[in-house]
């Protein structure tokens, strides 16, 4: 029998907050975490800012920074859900993480050490494969359930959460830790510069004057379990994962299909898997990178989805606040969407002074605001044409159950 899947724990670390509470405060107060880079030399780049997490002191020797961030987010999420519960059911608890770059920082270090004719530390090479970070989390919590790493570029985090929700819904796991993690390095800075995708002033999602992305780093992990068991154990339920979709627009290796057809199918699949109609969607947390190609594609898709409701359904992006966190974007922005559902507010799209076609879309420029939200979509798009969307809802317990978080807000 199919299970309803709920979120009972959340952990996040990004430039706009090292905890869920800090992140919530930044979202409500419209605070950006983007500042000058200190992690590596940016003197050769035109743009030198990003969503860097300050003061990360390594707790785990030899770990890639992306794994370190993933572990911290996982620890916070498990604490939030109840560490005893995860420990008790650890043989039926798994992990699914999304990442774009994985251990590329360790890979770069390996090459630089080789060039310098130094011995290469074997543990540095162990951080290179993408699945290293999921393995670290599985071993940290001694998990015995499914362990997987999803890599569909910038849609990895949301796809990993969708995948994990399928495993819980189908009874393949009792509890899943799911999310995404990525860190920024000279590798990504150089790569996006080579593609001329980096902004030269500031990231301005959906703004008429947008010029490109600002990079960011971070991780977010959520704890998923069946609604019945969460209610039974009296867990605090943050939100319900109602459905998800993921597909490829089969258009180009880096440019999205400008018609938005791929994203539209993805969102339709997410809604269909939940039995929810487009007319019930109250909010879309968009990918909104600040590039012309991505933002135009998304608005085409959401315009087709929402029709004459386009002006009434907020469509926002967090990229100007936290930067583009690549494989972590879907997970961090999903946490933002859950916080919006819980707190009944819509986070703002920062730096957007000239929204496109204001009569058609409500991008909530620069200032968050209160709203009545029941169903929200979190959407992401990645290189190579991949899209992913997760449909979230405020949790309504079955009649007679009063453990619903709905009653507390």
């Amino acid at each position: 029998m199919k299970q309803r899947v709920v979120i009972t724990g959340m952990g996040v670390i990004c430039s706009a907050g090292a905890s869920v509470d800090e992140f919530d405060t930044s979202l409500r107060a419209n605070c950006s975490g983007i500042k000058d880079v200190t992690l590596f030399d940016t003197s050769q780049f035109a743009y030198r800012s990003m969503g860097e997490i300050a003061g990360v002191v390594s707790r785990y020797e030899g770990l890639d920074r992306a794994s370190e961030l993933a572990l911290r987010a996982a620890e916070s999420a498990v604490d939030d859900a109840g560490a005893e519960e995860v420990e008790r059911f650890r043989t039926r608890t798994g992990v699914a993480l999304g990442t774009t770059c994985g251990g590329v920082t360790s890979h770069e270090l390996h090459v630089r050490r080789q060039r310098a004719a130094k011995d290469v530390a074997p543990e540095c090479l162990d951080e290179v494969p993408f699945h290293a970070m999921s393995g670290h989390i599985a071993r940290r919590f001694r998990l015995g359930g499914p362990v997987a790493t999803i890599t569909i570029a910038c849609a990895s985090g949301s796809n990993a959460i969708g995948y994990a929700s399928d495993l819980v819904r189908n009874g393949k796991a009792e509890i899943m830790l799911a999310g995404g993690s990525d860190c920024v390095s000279a590798f990504t800075f150089s790569g996006f510069t080579s593609l001329r995708a980096m902004t030269r002033d500031a990231c301005r999602p959906f703004d008429k004057g947008r010029t490109g992305i600002a990079l960011g780093e971070g991780a977010a992990v959520v704890v998923l379990e069946a609604a019945d068991r969460a209610i039974r154990r009296g867990a605090r339920i943050h939100a319900e994962i109602l459905g998800h979709g993921f597909c490829n627009d089969a258009y180009h290796s880096t440019s999205p299909d400008p018609s938005g057809r791929g994203m539209l199918k993805t969102v339709h699949d997410a809604l269909a898997s939940a039995g929810i109609g487009p007319d019930q969607v109250d909010y879309i947390n968009a990918h909104g990178t600040g590039t012309t190609a991505n933002d135009d594609m998304e608005l085409a898709a959401y315009g087709a989805l929402l029709g004459d409701r386009s002006a009434r359904v907020p469509v926002t992006s967090q990229k100007a606040m936290i930067g583009h966190t690549l494989g972590a974007a879907g997970a961090i922005e999903l946490v933002a969407t859950v916080l919006a559902l819980k707190g009944q507010y819509v986070p703002a799209t920062l730096n957007s002074c000239n929204p496109p076609d204001e009569s058609r879309f409500d991008i909530v420029p620069n200032k968050s605001r209160g709203a009545r939200l029941k169903y929200a979509l979190c959407c992401n798009a990645g290189f190579a044409g991949h899209n992913a969307a997760v449909l979230l809802g405020r949790f309504d317990a079955q009649p007679g159950n009063d453990a619903s978080e709905t009653a507390r807000h």
Binding site: P122, H131, N248, K265
Partner: protein
Amino acid sequence: MNDVWIDGSEQISFLGVGASALALANGDDAAARWECAFPWIGPSPEFEFDRITGLGESPATRQMDGLAKYVVACSSMLLKSREADPGHEADVGIVLGSAFGCTHSNHAFIEELVSNGPRRTSPTIFRNTVSNAAAGHMATTFGIRGSNTVLNSGMVSGAQALAYASDLIREGRCATILAGAVDCVSEPIRARFLAQSGRIRQSRVPLIDGACIFSLRASQATTSSWRVTGYSMAFISRDDWQSGMWRVIDQAIRSSGDAVEEVDALQIHTDFGLLWIRTDPSERLEDVCQDLARDVGPGPHVENTAVPSTLGLADSLRLLAGEAASKIFLRRITERRTDSAKPRAFVFVAIGADGNAVALVFKGIPNGRKDA
């Protein structure tokens, strides 16, 4: 809920090009080639991308890296051989598994970055520094617009891809899915493999490049198909190796709705496989599992690509169906049955170097008749 049928498979590896190469391969020759090639063996010289795909030197193919070329060529053969119609493009999906994903393109980009500086790197290489680039090239080349994802979970990635693809078909998200494994390793992965091999003298299977892709569909295409009836996934610790192995197998069989007694074949596969085929009706599967798990051992194992275990699965499905097979990845097969009946159910377990495990349950059709 839909049934999930295997409609065919194709492969590109050192064994040659196409599923038929598995039938023609000679185990002794291959072992000798492994020894010479160690620590890495690429595809056979028969792998000629342009000849297989007919795509020529288009701008799209110029942007493909080795990983994409393996999987596009493999899928091209599969689509041609099965006469699959990608016309229902939104119903066709792609689920790829790769142990190391785009690390070879990452390596090429890092080499440029370190040599030339951050302002002189190639956007063409950077486009391939996402592990889903190969799946994207597949989608674009064949116009496949359905569910599409990539798993980078180490050696078990191909088995995980097949497991997830089976769920997507069972739930009606896709009518057909191309799913399987692809890998193209780079210098740091070879260096890591050599370092591991120096410490662990368990296997002389080199790192294997290539692709092995299955076509899964919701409707039966041929009378000799296998069905994917269930699966389970688990992370098995060394302390709990034998009981953990049984747990993942037992859960997979339960998920398939089959009885343990119906399982007539079991394979446990790291970078090599051990295959048991029932000869004695009274043999208990749990006892067999304990024996195989003990023989494979809890490791540590050397981490290969996702290709050997996926090729090993394709080969065993041929063997158990009574077709010619290479048996190249099988270190041991228990007594061969003398009759030609297919097993009622076959459990295949892929195990990663880190203890990550995927158990898949397949059900055959006895003697070409449609299963009841």
